[in-house]
């Protein structure tokens, strides 16, 4: 079994109102060093295979087909 983590983030330049709200809330909590905050998503997946090359190819396909909306989001894949 291979464990993988997929991280999906908004592309640069795409407005992230949730990140902005969190940024404001952190500032209001007194974290005066806070700069920009961008919100994303993390997916932890388990794949029933030992073939890392196949796992990477499958994960890329999963990102392209469902996990990320590539119009507005980037994704990165890391294998444990």
């Amino acid at each position: 079994m291979i464990k993988a983590r997929v991280t999906v983030t908004l592309k640069n330049g795409v407005l992230d109102p949730q990140g902005k709200a969190i940024e404001g809330a952190l500032g209001a909590l007194g974290f005066d060093s806070i700069g920009h905050v961008r919100q994303g998503k993390v997916f932890d997946l388990e794949l029933e295979t030992a073939d890392r090359t196949k796992a990477e190819a499958d994960l890329k396909a999963m990102c392209e087909k469902l996990l990320a909306n590539t119009v507005i989001e980037n994704y990165s894949i890391s294998l444990a």
């Binding site: 795409v14 407005l15 109102p17 949730q18 709200a21 087909k65 469902l66 996990l67 909306n69 119009v71 507005i72």
Partner: protein, 223 residues
């Protein structure tokens, strides 16, 4: 004109849509479940609003990968009209049938109220009953209606007249780019829009401004 209404778990505006289509065309639309791989011979396919799959992952993302969407794509390629309203619009952009993406409202609030819509293109098969520049009333109810397209896509759809509806008079409820409320595909037979024209079609609704959209799409415009 024959029509079909797609049903998916979590959609909740299907009955309103069926009522509108029945009243305006005089024919009860057929309903099509998400697992169907074929759609009957109809002239218009409608994906109504709601919260398919609980809006999990992204609004419309899971619904867009259901088998029925392949059948809708095939119909769209044949030139059959397809209308997506609210969650239906989100499903159409997620499926790639329409350009762009719909993001969380800039206000981060669910918005449920009436807006003004400017008919930016009155020459489509969905808007012939209106005049270009006409401003109509229409209800909205959504959390993720903030339309976005990258600069290149935006230039293309604006240049081609694919922006069909814009929020008018400062009523943009979601921060969408260029006040875009509805877009059509390049071929002109697939329309997606966030507002709900099916909820303003008779006096009991407080107005009938949405009626023209269905009268156009169903080819029942009064002479």
């Amino acid at each position: 004109m024959k029509s079909a209404v797609v049903q998916l778990p979590g959609l909740n505006r299907d009955r309103d849509m069926i009522a509108a289509l029945t009243q305006i065309s005089g024919k009860v639309p057929v309903t099509v479940w998400q697992t169907e791989t074929e759609i009957p011979d109809v002239d218009l396919v409608v994906i109504p609003g709601g919260f398919s799959y609980g809006d999990y992952l992204r609004c419309g993302a899971i619904a867009a990968r259901m088998p029925v969407m392949q059948a809708i794509k095939a119909k769209a390629e044949q030139g059959v009209r397809v209308l997506g309203v609210c969650n239906g619009f989100q499903i159409l952009v997620e499926s790639g049938l329409l350009p762009g993406a719909l993001m969380r409202n800039a206000s981060l609030k669910f918005v449920c109220r009436e807006v003004k819509l400017e008919v930016a293109n009155g020459d489509t098969s969905f808007t012939r009953a209106y005049a270009k520049g006409q401003v109509i009333r229409c209800p909205v109810a959504h959390h993720d209606g903030n339309y976005f397209a990258d600069a290149e896509t935006l230039k293309a759809i604006e240049g081609n007249g694919q922006v069909v509806f814009r929020y008018a008079d400062g009523t943009n409820p979601n921060g969408s780019i260029n006040d875009i409320a509805g877009v059509i595909n390049a071929k002109g037979n697939v329309l997606g829009m966030m507002p709900h024209p099916e909820n303003l079609i008779e006096a009991a609704h407080g107005g009938a401004d949405g009626r023209g959209l269905f009268a156009s799409a169903l080819d029942v415009i009064a002479a």
